[in-house]
Subunit: 126 residues, 4 copies
DNA sequence: GTGGTCTAGACCACG
DNA sequence: GTGGTCTAGACCACC
């Protein structure tokens, strides 16, 4: 299982699912055309309600990352540029960076950690 | 006023306040020992509910960034290492990085954007 | 083959088939009395399930556009006025028009686009 | 009540709500900044479940037509251009036009009906 | 089998 | 008060 759901996380479960699937797609582990697990299957695996997974899938469909076909499951969309709201990204970044700075991290350490995560995501997936 | 509250932001107001105060502390604009505006004052300035500001202050107190003295207002905590939950930081970073990757950003572009934001936060504050 | 089935379309396949056949009849490309391809044949050509095509034919029969003769295939119905539920047509039109209006289209642009499509459908068919 | 829900309609209830609200916004009856009825209120009025309305609101938020504020209700978004996928609009139009043609309507009649609907939507709302 | 929709009812988060 | 999320369970539509 590549996906997990933690009800005690501060993020709602459906968003955890969205974030993890988005990461798998960004990593290339899920390639365009690949099928996602069925709503019922994933719900059973995660021990969550069917609707919770359905909401996650619907959100990904809204982002254009997956295509949902009635009766035939969901698949990763044929690759296409994802829109990029730079201002939004910066705003998301600021609180995280602030926390790191307050923890005494130097710019080098912060950039290093970022590079590590980028590498983790991109990884090798041949 | 260095703080603003935007009701049309996607973040709840109390979190906007928390994030901005944390950023000001990280930037050194608010130094250890400095007093925060009173809850009443800030609530009035921002035009938000008193409780909203109180919740924000309580959250910052929970993070150990400010000390609330009953009846005597809140002050930035005497400098001390803020705990650093690296795993948590990484988890916060992943969804943002995934989105940037899907938007076609190269590692260099992503690191560049991060460096810019770091610079913006650290800025000049003597 | 004048018909196609696109699994990545947002419309279900059976509806794609219905809409395309209806359009061909409206355009006069399929004339009253003309035979439709057999369910088996069309299903094979489109690479879709037999039932999917059968459901499409049944829907067209329900609209009175085709006649299904058990064991002898389906034919376009002898010409007769198709019932016209004006209210239903208006209801179908409203969401599309609303979207166009919100996109800033003028009445002229909208009417122009409609005229183009009418022309495309009517086309030349001897 | 400006909105209605018909469970026997072929469109799902949440989409009926979306379409009607979009129409009201296109018509200017709901202006930017205007509050939408609360989820619970509208659900009660329509006699449907709270979640059904919530899904409709979320969809409108995804379209950028309304902004939902936790604890403070939903409002029509400050006006902005709605994206316009012309190909999609044409594809939606074709089946409707085919039906009208099969009903024996002339181009003039069809255009006339369209103009009427445009007028109905745009209407006077000073 | 797949996903889509809806309900009733619960509990949490925000202001 | 507001909306957000989740559950359990039902029924429908598509292939």
């Amino acid at each position: 299982m590549l996906i997990s759901a933690d009800p005690s996380d501060d993020q709602p479960i459906y968003r955890q699912i969205v974030d993890q699937l988005r990461q798998l797609i960004a990593a290339g582990i899920l390639q365009p055309g690949d099928p996602l697990p069925s709503v019922r299957q994933l719900a059973a695996d995660l021990g969550v309600n069917l609707n919770t997974v359905a909401i996650a899938y619907r959100e990904l469909a809204g982002e254009g990352l997956v295509e949902i076909k009635h009766g035939r499951g969901a698949r990763v969309t044929a690759a296409r540029e994802h829109r990029f709201d730079e201002e939004r990204m910066r705003k998301l970044l600021v609180p995280i960076l602030s926390k790191m700075i307050l923890a005494g991290k130097s710019d080098g350490e912060i950039v290093g950690l970022l590079r590590e995560e980028l590498h983790n995501i991109r990884g090798d997936k041949t």
